[in-house]
């Protein structure tokens, strides 16, 4: 997902739209960073949820609050991973255009993994016997 010189995006990609409102083109890097970071955060939550189910040690380590249980650590760490990923990707892609299709494909895969990892019939497959 390296930066590249984009093709012209549309014949309208100049200063003025037919609607008469000034809309200068903007590099898609910051938007791609936000979208991919959401996928990374979702995947992190799915992974942590499955790991906590598979290992009592992990579940105990993720219990930041006794009242909330392992959910406290799963969600806190997933949010931290999301924020760090967003910050790093934003710094990497600031002012740049990236191949949005690749970023989107990666995001869809990460979101699917996040949804799978947070689905009880899936993560219970990893419960210790």
């Amino acid at each position: 997902m390296s930066a590249y010189s984009p093709e012209p995006k549309s014949p309208l990609g100049t200063e003025m739209t037919p609607a008469g409102v000034e809309t200068p083109p903007r590099p898609n890097g910051p938007a791609a960073a936000a979208i991919l970071a959401a996928g990374i955060g979702a995947c992190a939550l799915g992974l942590l949820t499955t790991l906590a189910q598979a290992s009592r040690t992990v579940a105990r380590l993720l219990t930041f609050s006794d009242a909330v249980g392992p959910l406290s650590g799963k969600t806190t760490i997933a949010v931290v991973i999301w924020l760090v990923a967003w910050a790093l990707l934003s710094a990497l892609w600031r002012g740049k255009d990236v191949r949005f299709e690749r970023v989107w494909t990666a995001t869809v895969i990460l979101l699917a993994l996040g949804l799978l990892g947070t689905f009880p019939p899936f993560y219970e497959l990893f419960s210790p016997r």
Binding site: K9, E22, A34, I35, A42, S65, V68, L71, T75, T118
Partner: protein, 170 residues
Amino acid sequence: MSLTEREAWTVIHGMVLGAIFLLAFAGGLAGLWSLRPEFLTPGGLRERIPRLEIGTLLMAIDAWLTVITGTWIVYPWYRAPVPDSPRSKILASEATRLWHTLGMEWKEHVGWLTPLLATAVAFVVFYYGPRLAYEPRVRQALLVLFTLAFITAGIAGLFGAFLNKVAPIT
């Protein structure tokens, strides 16, 4: 006509914050869907973009408040290790057990995807502003993320409503 503190927080979490997100979705979806050059007039674009920006921002904030109140305030009452907590009551009977092992377990995790997705949507709407109308691929991606945020919030909200029927927090 009164509510206990726990009932009041359950109402704030689900019937206020959660319901606002679900109800606002239709407006946000319509705004994103119809943000196309062929539909726009100068006045329409100037009127629509600030509404979309503020709407998606408020929805993202609302989603965060929903999961934070749910996880850190309401959930500890649900899972308290005492015989009369909702979790204990539900798990005590085979007839209701699945409400916890599927319903609550799914709800408590999948609901956290909503604020991540809603925040990404709000950021990109702010980042592009009126230009978003001329970025169809990005706009389509936002439609998917926004719809997924609604679906995950809907799963959490639906199970929350059912669980509160099966074993209410009082």
